[in-house]
Assembly symmetry: D2
Homo-oligomer: 326 residues x 4
């Protein structure tokens, strides 16, 4: 059972990054060409997740294709621009305003067009503005219904392009509609189109104290795990840290489960290295995950499987420890 | 649109209560007769959720029926004894050991028999031991499959008795299989039997920073909200405090939503008054929820609905404040 | 025992507000004059917390004084610009780089000068960049020592101006040095200057599941509660929501405790109304807090005190409920 | 700079363990002799933390001394029985009832006597019942004052025996008085006796998202780090799991810091292996921590120190990864 993760990085990770207290950012703006050039230099990275930017450099399919070719990068996934714009302040597909909902569907369709034009087979739908901040702010059943219809409309637009819903429990809204793997799968079932699936950002799982491997197993069981985002955090917020900077055992279990379920998608590094060198931080993330994957191969699927089957947690930890630390 | 919640209390709440540091309990053991007598004296309570105890007082249907009649209490719901026994240390319907799984199904069937014998139409399935504590401890896909099959087997036993899955994110296991409203609904869909639904314990929603009214709305939309448990907490753990001791606005929204969705089940107080008088703590919980319900009626469904539709959070908060505090 | 809170608002709250996904903001930039004009129109607000901006409008003492006079606003507090600038990426008084530390002290001194020039008697020191993101990133003992020395140097600059340390557990750094009321008091003791005290942002208390009234009581007991910031959140993050939108009982206890300890400082609204009208959101926050304060007066200090002394939580909740909801 | 941690285990860890849903426990009762025998067989363990049990086996100094000698175990620390008894339902040294406070001081003095009689130089004071559950339940300033006086009275009883305050943010009370390292140090300062210090339970640090090494550094800087308890958790609750089952990098930093600060106390395993073999779980915890300690030695203090000084997080992570996983 061989498994070699394909690593990419989201183009935004190597640009300027700000937060609510320093909106101008901790770094400098970097043009697309420079971002791709930097990314191409990162050991272990062979692809990018594009962030479609209508009217901007990253919305120019010809330019993007050219730069990808120059830097020998694949671009399997395109992120839809459905968060970082005032228009989406109260949501996209589930916004209370029908005009906004229609605009969101149009934006997603243009993202699909852009994906097609750049050779990507998948668009990533992180719908972080869909949800609410306060009690008494949303008609939850209506929101759900609108979400189903909006995603379905996009799914039907060009069935050859797949759509992946990226759940996240909160931020920027205090509460998100698509908050967990289960919610995503429930939506996917109701949307009922074969090209709609799930992106698991492992940090969005850790953030609420859930288990990454379980999320992978359940999405895979449903045949809907389309994409992975990777980073680390302290298990209370989406800190978007370098992979492996906090957790270890759960990462080993994650890589074991990706292999076990024959995950065929990409592993895209999605970190916010506000104060770190982005390329090195990305490279370290890739190296950590690749090392976890080699560890799984070294210990062996059968051995791990038999320890799980035996329910012997202590022996499993001993195996991990002696293979790493002794 | 009238709505009068029916209030019950779980019989265990008025007994002795211990924690892991004081297992012998903060109070004294109370026999069933005394518990029911005490409960009967609580203003606003007209029913109990029984805790089926095979071989014990609370497993004797004739005795229970007699005591219920004496104290003029209804018993619409019976809790299955699927947590507090060593046998379930590693789970019930989803335990790795097939013999344990079969025993769990048998236990649930006996609970169904007991429900039938005592006139309850619903059994509550809180499966708190199904899940895991450590990474690498569970085969998640297998767990899920076993859970589906176990609940389905129980559902088919006597289709006139309904089953409600009570989700909870963690405790006693560090991670629970049935952790959220979405996971419950996903399971319910896959189990695919009309008599399987969901119990929402509002504290299990707050515990992970989710919204109680949203959980109600989404379970109702699916036609599967069968039962409610009520208490309060500080939004980080299942503290099982007196309702209204921490939160307010979200409770008002919860009662609004129960009314809006014409919730027809019971509202069962589920608190752990380790150090408080249990009857008074229960009574205060009921009184708080009833007052929230009257507040909804007083302000009016149309006004609340129109404020939500207008998306005017500040005006909604002003309405709440001026109706209560000024 | 009378107590009338003085309400102010931080000038930044009525400006444009962005987050890490929409750094250009959810609103439009508002010039200082317009911000003060808007603030002056908020019912219940009589002061502002300025945000010193060297070289900008809010760094021009003459302009500020003039505008304050025009709008009849007091400005009792000035925030030091020690977070939102790249220079402070790795801290201010506790930065590893001595040059940065010196620059931070200079910046604080200029803030003190500006406070003096605008008639403010207090500068607020929220040192959100002092801390760390990753393990193995800080020499904790050295950080602490540098923090003590930096604050002490500022305290000695003009002893008539008071300094208030505003603790916050995290954000923007994943971990903050000054993370709690206790840490603040410990620092204050070691800094050992009479003009150094604490700002309690009630949201920074809720954010880690601590109790606001307790923080007030302990800082007051030490004679060091200099300033209050007010907002609400869901108890897991600094959501900076409208006061009273989530919690109630703990607010009543907070106002009771401010009265009991004869708090003499200001209550400054510190919310982030990204998607709301800032003036109305601020006004509602003030109105809620003022109403909580009236509630305390109405119920009476002696009655509340006697319920606490009797340890009767249920009766206290009954008192609150019947005074509000029945 | 050599550093060899001395490992012990709390005697309760190898006994029966229950939780609030299964108070009779997941295991069987084990008599003291068998517990010590089992402990003596754990590789790497040379001592125990006793749990003083007045009137019980573990309160019989002669028996304890005999069994310790037989099993060649040291007993450097004794836990005071100030949590698991109904008498302490509302606190010990800070209980509102003066009679309870006096009884608590007496109990602590008897613990000190027992420590003296068994050759332990330190008593561990985890005061988990001191705090509150609800708002409006405590007079916080009075609680603090009573705590100071109670601990001081115990400290003065036999100055040769040291007292260590073990902070924990919550559980069993929803909010604890001694909740953090900073609160402990603040109390220690006010108690102002040389034999009063702090026990850091690393899980109680992780539980609220704080940093273990920082806690060690700050308590050491104050000269008051007397004792360590060790376990692991998911960073949201005191799960008391096997050390190393969740975290890695922060453990390495912890061991680095214990070495750097020349920690001279014991490292006591404090886990709750409800469903695991306790001896093996303890042994694995010790082995993990010892391996972390060897890692520090292998990489070298100077190298680690220089990476921290350089502020190069990515290089530090690369160093960890390549030394373990490649």
């Amino acid at each position: 059972m061989t498994f070699e993760p394909k690593f990419s990085v989201i183009t935004a990770c190597v640009g300027n990054l700000g937060d609510r207290f320093l909106t101008s950012g901790y770094k400098e703006r970097v043009c697309l060409e420079d971002r791709l050039k930097r990314i191409a230099g990162i050991e272990g990275i062979t692809g990018v997740e594009l962030c479609y930017d209508p009217g901007g450099e990253e919305g120019n399919a010809a330019l993007v294709r050219k730069l990808l070719a120059v830097h020998r990068l694949q671009a399997p996934v395109v992120n839809a621009p459905l968060v970082g714009d005032k228009r989406w302040s109260f949501g996209t597909f589930s916004a209370p305003d029908g005009a906004v909902r229609r605009e969101a569907v149009e934006t997603a369709k243009r993202t699909i067009d852009f994906a097609e034009a750049t050779g990507a087979g998948l668009i990533n739908l992180w719908l972080g503005q869909d949800g609410f901040d306060y009690p008494f702010q949303a008609d939850y059943a209506e929101q759900w219904q609108n979400m189903v219809e909006g995603v379905r409309a996009c799914a039907e637009y060009k069935p050859s392009i797949r759509l992946a819903l990226e759940f996240k429990p909160r931020e920027p809204r205090n509460r998100a509609l698509i908050d967990s793997a289960s919610t995503s799968l429930l939506l996917v079932r109701e949307i009922d189109r074969p090209n709609v699936g799930v992106t698991i950002d492992n940090g969005h799982v850790l953030q609420v104290g859930a288990n990454m491997a379980q999320a992978v197993a359940l999405c895979s069981r449903a045949g809907r795990l389309f994409n992975m985002h990777l980073n680390d955090n302290y298990a209370g917020w989406d800190d978007d840290m370098i992979a492996g900077s906090v957790h270890l055992v759960e990462y080993l279990e994650l890589l074991y489960t990706l292999r076990k379920t024959s995950y065929g998608g990409w592993c895209s590094i999605d970190i916010f290295p506000y104060r770190e060198n982005a390329e090195r931080a990305t490279e370290e993330s890739v190296a950590f995950l690749a090392a976890c994957n080699r560890w799984v191969a070294k210990v062996g699927m059968e051995k791990i499987h038999s320890l799980i089957a035996a329910g012997d947690v202590t022996e499993m930890l001993r195996t991990i420890r002696t293979s790493l630390l002794c």
